[in-house]
């Protein structure tokens, strides 16, 4: 099992550009999450999904969108990138009562 995979690993965006961070898991987990980690800070929940076709906002959803068309994939869309979105983004999956399995992260810089 590959677990949770994320692409790309690194990306530099210009202000106002858009991009999609890809996330996939092969553990057949219904629950998937996007967290961001700013330097010296903990992880903050952006969006989560409890199954295909169902998504909900987390603590810091502004500037992001998600979709969940399959159990395996949970892409995160950034529209009109801003410097405040410079962060490391972690995708994770779990079953309902368990801990999180994290991907390796995407380091995004917005200049």
């Amino acid at each position: 099992n590959a677990g949770v995979t994320q692409t790309p690993k690194f990306r530099i965006l210009k202000i106002g550009q858009s991009m999609t961070l890809q996330c996939a898991q092969d553990m057949n987990h219904n629950y998937m999450y996007w967290y961001r980690q700013d330097p010296g800070m903990g992880l903050k929940l952006i969006y989560y999904s409890v199954g295909a076709g169902i998504t909900d906002k987390g603590e810091v959803p502004n500037g992001y969108n998600v979709s969940r068309s399959t159990t395996e994939d949970f892409p995160l869309r950034l529209e009109l990138a801003a410097p405040s979105q410079t962060s490391v983004y972690f995708c994770a999956s779990s079953d309902r009562t368990s801990f999180l399995y994290f991907g390796p992260g995407t380091r995004l810089t917005v200049l």
């Binding site: 010296g40 903990g42 999956s93 309902r96 009562t97 801990f99 999180l100 399995y101 992260g105």
Partner: protein, 114 residues
Amino acid sequence: DQQVKQNSPSLSVQEGRISILNCDYTNSMFDYFLWYKKYPAEGPTFLISISSIKDKNEDGRFTVFLNKSAKHLSLHIVPSQPGDSAVYFCAASARTSNAGKSTFGDGTTLTVKP
């Protein structure tokens, strides 16, 4: 208002000694507490958890203690090893609804010196 706090940004201990990492929370709805370990340039990995119905959970060198009345938990690592050097995140959730929808502390960087 930070619901999960790790007041020590860093901790340095000697190899073989005990490492104690602390975490405080404010939300009484939290009933499931987890510790994650993170190495540089990697995603966090699950270390150990504890449900609110327990006050202690042990897994090898790692033990988590929960004091519900004080809303405090701690992670003990005995004996500490250089490979334990990492950032440790405390997290809390309401397991009955969604254990993965966790609130994280800011992390404590542990350095274990040989």
